[in-house]
């Protein structure tokens, strides 16, 4: 665990440790503990609630069982997340100098529902095209493609924000110096701008991948369940099916994939530098 070095008994609390305590307690009780519970449930007897009293791999066995199609949800979630990141990189890089934080504060279902109103039959697109004399808009809703579109749309600010931070970190002098030493624009971009903006770009890619891999609202609202993502399977297991051990096993696998990625990438990133410590 990340905090082993902290829990070691120390003669006196350093100011840093003391200041971190409220947040540490919150994260241990509200983040690590739930994850430990999920992990514990993942090894409990299927469709039971006897956590810590039973140990079985039956849930994982059920997941890898070829007759079970739950793996398609994993594939969908990860594939969509991957495509989402790739598309966002292309969309955001040219505009990573403007910042709009506002969409972050409007709940994603409201924003996604706006697109439903846009794409739906007799909606804004369809209606406008008919009004201009065309035969009407294409049937885009309730497809995997529109799910991806929704994800790109919802997570755009999460890519843009770190990317802009990363690009803003490049000292103007370095670009000037490269140009002064004879480098053309392509070379400046490849040799100076891109490597220096890389931490920001990496954080953006990681953040959007993680969020997109766990996305569910896009597939439900825009995609009309044409795609079942893994989070939806977890939700069903936790709620309607009341199969907590199964849901936990699925969640555990997703969490391992996601946090494995996050931790590897974070180990290579210096937060002090990015957030501007002198």
């Amino acid at each position: 665990m990340a905090d082993t070095s902290l829990s070691a008994p120390e003669a006196k609390l350093t100011p840093g440790l003391r200041a971190s305590l409220p947040v540490l307690v919150l994260l241990i009780a509200g983040f690590l503990a739930p994850l430990v519970t999920v992990a514990a449930y993942a090894f409990a007897t299927p469709k039971s609630f006897d956590v810590f009293r039973s140990f079985t791999l039956a849930n994982f066995a059920a997941i890898v069982d070829p007759s079970n199609t739950v793996w398609t949800s994993f594939v969908w979630a990860l594939a969509l997340a991957f495509c989402c990141v790739a598309i966002l990189l292309v969309i955001c890089y040219p505009i990573a100098s403007v910042l709009f934080v506002f969409p972050l504060f409007v709940s994603e279902n409201v924003r996604l529902y706006g697109w439903v109103l846009f794409f739906i039959k007799n909606g804004v697109l369809d209606g406008a095209l008919k009004w201009f004399g065309f035969s009407g808009g294409p049937e885009l809703l309730y497809t995997p493609g529109i799910t991806l579109f929704g994800m790109v749309y919802v997570y755009l600010p999460f890519m843009l924000f770190p990317m802009t931070l990363g690009i803003a970190m490049i000292p103007r002098d370095l670009v000037d110096a490269a140009s002064d030493l004879g480098a053309g624009r392509l070379m400046i971009w490849r040799e100076v701008e891109l490597p220096l903006a890389m931490p920001g770009i990496l954080i953006g890619a990681l953040l959007t991948f993680v969020l997109a891999a766990g996305a569910v609202a896009e597939a439900k609202i825009l995609g009309g369940q044409s795609v079942i993502t893994i989070t939806q399977d977890i939700e069903v297991a936790f709620t309607y099916a009341q199969n907590w051990p199964m849901g936990s096993a699925l969640a555990l696998i997703l969490v391992l994939i996601v946090s494995g990625l996050a931790l590897t990438a974070m180990a290579r990133i210096d937060l002090d530098k990015i957030l501007g410590k002198r």
């Binding site: 000292p171 370095l174 000037d176 140009s179 030493l181 004879g182 480098a183 040799e191 220096l196």
Partner: protein, 368 residues
């Protein structure tokens, strides 16, 4: 670029003398939002010269340098390099190179990669690049094993040398320096000033250096230009600038000076109290008001044995040691403060009022 090759010679009023200047500026202006940071500069820089532009911060010297390097383009006027108009030639197509105040070393590259950057632009073969980089490192006295060192782990002085080597790797006709030594401690600064001067002599290249420190300028330069509010107020050899400053601003820029306001009368120049003042310079000044400027080291104590052309009576109220010399602050009867700097041997031993004075040949008269 075909647009670049237009010869400005016909357009520029000040056609060159011989030897032809490598850099020529004619009425160069740069306006930012209605504010003229550089306000009409005419300047010729000769081949192989070390020219330093000094001025207080905000005088427009950095803007001037950025225009010369091609990082800004002038709003008005001409900049020519060996007779070719380069106003709008981008920095990557100019045979000039700027050493930035921040040094602008690429933090994600090694020392070697930094130095080789301009060579990679030129698509030089890797082995040759490396050979050339090591050569340059030797030239700026960087140890060979620094080649693979992370540039951000170098000390201030070492970074300085990397930046120099990188600029030389570009092999420019003219090198520009934007106060690169300002962040270093005094001793290192002195050392690097000397090395820079040596490098200038060995390479035979033209150096244009800007700084706000006249001391730095005096040590290194062939010529010094003094800038103020976007204009060059005086240009000349260090000796000329020091001994015959064009105005009070230039005189005061050199450090502490004594000033005595004077006015013109039918009988010649008079002090405020109506006494005549002996002067040998400034006879061509237009207005009726002028200022006599005397450096502290030209002021001395006046006794019966040692008379002076001009005298002032006052009282000593402070004494400082400057090492081998002593400096006194003297308040005159009219309440003005004067600085007198004498060798230790000439220390003032008396009490009460003191007479200080200067000789006319040691004073400079400037207008205003």
């Amino acid at each position: 670029m075909s647009s670049v090759a237009v010869s400005p010679v016909s357009a520029s009023p000040a056609v060159s003398k011989t030897p032809r200047p490598v850099l020529q500026l004619v009425d160069v202006r740069k306006v930012f939002d209605g504010f003229a940071a550089v306000d009409g500069i005419n300047l010729d820089i000769e081949e192989g010269e070390f020219v330093t532009i000094v001025g207080p911060s905000g005088s427009g010297k950095t803007t001037l340098l950025r225009m010369l390097a091609g990082l800004e383009s002038p709003s008005d006027g001409y900049i020519t390099l060996r007779g070719e108009l380069i106003n709008d030639v981008p920095s990557n197509r100019r045979p000039t190179c700027l050493v930035f105040q921040s040094l602008a070393l690429f933090p994600h590259m090694t020392v070697g990669d930094n130095i080789e950057f301009p060579l990679r632009v030129r698509k030089m073969a890797p082995e040759e690049r490396r050979r050339r980089a090591l050569e340059l490192m030797a030239k700026v006295r960087l140890p060979e094993d620094y080649y693979a060192k992370n540039v951000m782990l170098c000390s201030g002085g070492e970074k300085q040398r990397v930046a120099l080597a990188r600029a030389f790797a570009y092999d420019p006709d003219v090198l520009f320096f934007d106060e690169p030594l300002s962040a270093l401690d005094y001793k290192l600064k002195k050392l690097l000033e000397k090395e820079l001067k040596d490098l200038h002599r060995e390479s035979g290249k033209t150096f244009v250096y800007i700084t706000h420190s006249l001391e730095e300028a005096m040590v290194m330069s062939d010529r010094i230009g003094v800038m103020r509010a976007g204009k060059v107020v005086q240009i000349g050899t260090p000796e000329q600038i020091y001994s015959t400053p064009a105005d009070r601003f230039v005189a005061e820029f050199f450090g502490e000076v004594n000033t005595v306001p004077i006015r013109r009368s039918a009988d010649g120049w008079l002090r405020r109290d109506g006494r005549p003042v002996a002067v040998t310079s400034g006879l061509s000044i237009d207005g009726d008001e002028a200022t006599v400027v005397i450096r502290p080291e030209y002021m001395r104590f006046v006794t019966d044995d040692a008379v002076a052309d001009n005298t002032i009576v006052g009282t000593i109220f402070n004494e400082y040691s400057l090492g081998s010399r002593l400096q006194y602050q003297v308040r005159s009867r009219t309440g003005r403060t004067f600085l007198v700097e004498v060798p230790r041997a000439a220390a003032w031993k008396g009490t009460g009022e003191v007479t200080i004075g200067w000789d006319a040949r040691n004073a400079i008269v400037v207008g205003g």
